[in-house]
């Protein structure tokens, strides 16, 4: 019944209602006509028995019981593979990171330098802008545009790259600040 889980209960009820009513109707018709040479008659004998027991719980009642059982059953813990986790991760959604806009959160402030963490291995450091400068505090969510995910390059004469352990991003604007909390509806 897994494919039906995503569908809202009332649609499920409606379709099942229609299906059961139709099947009940069909079998009653067959019974009345008593076509013994129809191969489905012997099957429908079983179905009639089933329907007799199910008739007590058919239509809405049956659907309601089924739905309540579905809600009561604990969700099976899906076992994730690393490959599937990676494939559905935000890193893959990003595509080519250069030029993409992401949301970050400031986790440290040193005077005019803002250390922003956006879910990558490294953080980025941006200077505090002049516009609304006092709103950039620890916990502020900001919009940043990625220039480079890791500032590393090969220098002449060395065998490996030299990393700065930082990402390089441009600060675009604020999304939310703790200094100005959102207006609550009373």
């Amino acid at each position: 019944m897994i494919p039906f889980r995503n569908i809202k209960p009332r649609y499920f009820t409606r379709s099942l209602l229609n299906g059961i009513e139709k099947s009940n109707h069909l079998i009653r018709v067959l019974n009345l006509c008593s076509y013994s040479n129809i191969p489905s008659y012997s099957d429908s004998g079983n179905e009639i028995d089933k329907d007799i027991s199910q008739e007590k719980l058919s239509g809405f009642a049956k659907a309601f019981e089924k739905q309540s059982q579905i809600l009561e059953n604990p969700e099976e813990e899906k076992s994730y593979t690393f490959a599937s986790l990676l494939r559905n991760s935000k890193l893959m959604d990003l595509g080519d990171p250069v030029g993409k806009t992401v949301i970050g959160k400031i986790f440290h402030v040193v005077e005019d330098d803002l250390y922003i963490d956006f879910g990558w291995k490294f953080h980025c450091v941006c200077t505090r802008p002049n516009l609304r400068g006092e709103e950039y505090v620890r916990g502020t969510r900001v919009r940043i545009q990625i220039n480079d995910l890791e500032l590393s390059s090969r220098f002449l004469g060395s065998s490996t790259d030299l990393t700065l352990l930082e990402a390089d991003c441009k600060l675009l604007g604020i999304i939310s600040t703790p200094t100005k909390p959102a207006v609550s509806v009373n």
Partner: protein, 248 residues
Amino acid sequence: MILSNTGCRYTKYGFSLLRYTSTSPQVIPENVIDVQQNQKNPLDYPDYFGVHNLFTVKDLFDARVHYGHKIGSLNDNMRSYIYGSRLGHLIFDLDTTAEHLRKALNFTAHIAYRGGIICFFNRNSLNAHIVEKTAMECGEYAHTRFWRGGIFTNANQQFGAITRLPDLCIFLNTQNNILNQHTAVRDSAKMLIPTIGIVDSNCNPNLVSYPVPGNDDSPTAIELYCKLFKSAIIRGKEERRKFLQETE
């Protein structure tokens, strides 16, 4: 019987009695033997402390353990731990990481069970405080500052007294700075101290006894490792406390 116990040498002209050396086995009283046979030996089990249940691959994924550096700074010895590269950025294979991490945690728990001294190392100033706090919380030691040359190799002179060295060194970052490996990795190998090390894609895992390939730069990853090692150590110590209480 007596002659063989005293370690005498049979020479050409009879025998000469050497200094008395006791070679007979020490007799253990029978009640202790029974207790030891009834008790379980943790070394008989593959995962006595249940450290395999401390984490899942999804936990590692959410803590950003699979992020590596760029291809340009890849150490050749780390190639087997890499899943692949995404537009130049390396991704660790978390299944391999999980396997290595389980072995490392199991080893940590056993060392803690045997009453060993464990020392945490991290030279990355961003995460140094987390590591020190973890060491304090589980009753072990941490060294996240400048490492003087002879701390392991010349300990008795450096500290002025007979020193007991750690029985396990856990490196949450095997690098000193970007260019050099931490001296304690090499020194632990010299002093026969087993090491566990979180090795990133730019690190050399050769001298580490239990390398754990993974991210060592993000604070979330370091916090996860600290939490896991702390749980493993606490479990080992708890078992030790129970064992000592039973034998009293």
